[in-house]
């Protein structure tokens, strides 16, 4: 059975061309960039080219792209690095209730170290209010971190406006763009972004690679201390092949991929909503991430639906408690105001540039069947 992969928001396969671009750096140009000999110099040149290419995608002229091991490291680095370097100025941080766990749990850890954190609410579609944001800023606020596009429900936040407000009040602005990078246009300068997290494995690049854009001249403590690689911001032997793969992946993402995904997304949403007692979470249209369809089916438990679909060859994801280690329903869904029983019944389909219309049609049919079956064996009505 040919599998249908609708979980690109979790991770993507490595594109064969990305693979080809990486290969020489595993076995041939494998030198340590910190070495003096020519093997090290070849590696360095390749990495600097990759850095320029990725920076060029987001108008990163005023920023330094520091390569990391992924989105999680970048977000930990941004929050903790800014916090520890700037605690003389203040110990208050603003973020939202719908951040990725790596932002939320970094923030919670910082609370244990004596920082104060405001977690902004969102509306029913997942939007942060600019008024709430402005009101939350205090004299001792050092950093605001707002996710660019939400990984569960696909809501694209008004980061340009939020960044502007932050800057007017002298607060640094960080955004987690793991989901949006290459899918939503980003201009670090115009969008008023001081720090931005990106990663590779959501855009057909390898896992274990990411980056943090840091506005030049900013005070930030490293998260990884050591040999002083990456301009002293991030130590550790540089993952040359991974970085080359990341930049090749970024290079390959094109406008028409995004359009293709948006079309399939809308097709899938439309088909899914024809099933009764269902609704879309997050906004529709331009303010929704191009690859994300997030649907709630009443009286359905998400894990069962996911596995049912898996048996039919379809890979998807759920915010149901039963799928999480904590047995808590997704914090993003409850932040929207969904009741736990509603959160249980929600499924995320995230399409990719390889998916076809036929696959989406098959998925809609399979979904209809599975929901019916599960509702039939359910005691709830």
């Amino acid at each position: 059975m040919n599998r249908i992969y609708l979980d690109t928001a979790a991770t993507t396969r490595v594109d064969p061309e990305v693979m080809k671009a990486m290969e020489p750096y595993f076995t041939r140009d494998f030198g340590n960039m910190a070495s003096l000999h020519s093997a090290g110099r070849d590696a360095e040149n390749a990495v600097e080219k990759a850095r320029r290419l990725i920076s060029g995608k987001v108008n990163g002229k005023e920023h330094r792209l520091v390569f990391t091991s992924g989105g999680t490291e970048s977000n930990n680095f941004a929050l903790k690095g800014i916090a520890f370097a700037n605690m003389g100025k203040g110990k208050h941080i603003i973020t939202t209730r719908i951040e990725h766990d790596c932002v939320l749990n970094s923030a919670r850890w910082l609370e244990k170290q004596g920082f104060e954190v405001t977690y902004l609410p969102v509306d029913r579609q997942g939007f942060v209010s600019t008024d709430d944001f402005a009101d939350a800023i205090r004299k001792d606020t050092i950093l605001a971190s707002v996710i660019h596009a939400n990984n569960e429900i696909g809501t694209i936040e008004p980061i340009r406006e939020l960044g502007k407000i932050a800057h007017e009040k002298g607060v640094l602005f960080h955004t987690d763009a793991c989901q949006s990078f290459t899918k939503v246009p980003i201009d670090l300068k115009k969008d008023n972004i001081d720090l931005m997290t990106v990663n590779s494995h959501k855009i057909y690049g390898p896992k274990g690679v990411g980056g943090l854009f840091i506005r030049q001249g900013m005070r930030i403590d490293p998260l990884l201390h050591g040999g002083g690689q990456e301009f002293g911001y991030r130590s550790g032997t540089v993952n040359v092949s991974g970085i080359i793969g990341f930049s090749k992946a970024a290079d390959m993402m094109k406008e028409n991929h995004v359009e293709h995904m948006a079309k399939l997304r809308d097709m899938l949403i439309e088909g899914a909503l024809e099933i009764k007692d269902s609704w879309l979470n997050g906004p529709s249209g331009n303010l929704r991430l191009a690859n994300n369809a997030h649907i709630t089916f009443k009286h359905i438990e998400g894990e069962s639906l996911i596995i049912h679909l898996d048996l039919k060859g379809i890979a998807s994801s759920t915010g149901s408690a039963c799928s999480s280690k904590t047995l808590e329903p997704s914090h993003v869904l409850t932040s929207l105001g969904l009741r736990p029983e509603e959160a249980h019944g929600s499924v995320r389909f995230s399409v990719g540039r390889d998916n076809t219309k036929e696959e989406i049609e098959y998925t809609i049919g399979a979904l209809r069947e599975s929901v019916e079956t599960l509702r039939k064996i359910s005691p709830l009505r």
Binding site: H299, A321, K325
Partner: protein, 137 residues
Amino acid sequence: MAMQYSRKVMEHFKSPKNMGEMKNPDAVGMVGNQRCGDVMKIYLMVGKKDGKDIIKDIKFQTYGCVSAIATTSVTTEMVKGKTLDEAYKLTRDDVAGKLGGLPPIKMHCSNLASEALQDAIDNYRKKTANNKNNEGE
């Protein structure tokens, strides 16, 4: 982490046994709640064999995750034809064991089928006790 379900669990999930509603059951048991993600309902039809109450027929309906569905399915299979006393002694561990184990995190949250069964049996006994009492009047 990805859930690692045994082959047995997956079989019961794919083709649940004794699934559906029962018309005119002798007793019904129900545990769990929707907020927590699992609701299990068990329907009993009780008969007599050698003077003892036995489970003549059993059906279930489950809202919940894979292990919730599989555990109720296997439970009904395990107790069909058993006496009520035997059936009442069934534990979560028995059920999990029969399924070739459950992921640890699922052991205590979606493995409520034995409780649902006990609830049904309790209800049956209460009902028949009441009937006897009524008869005694």
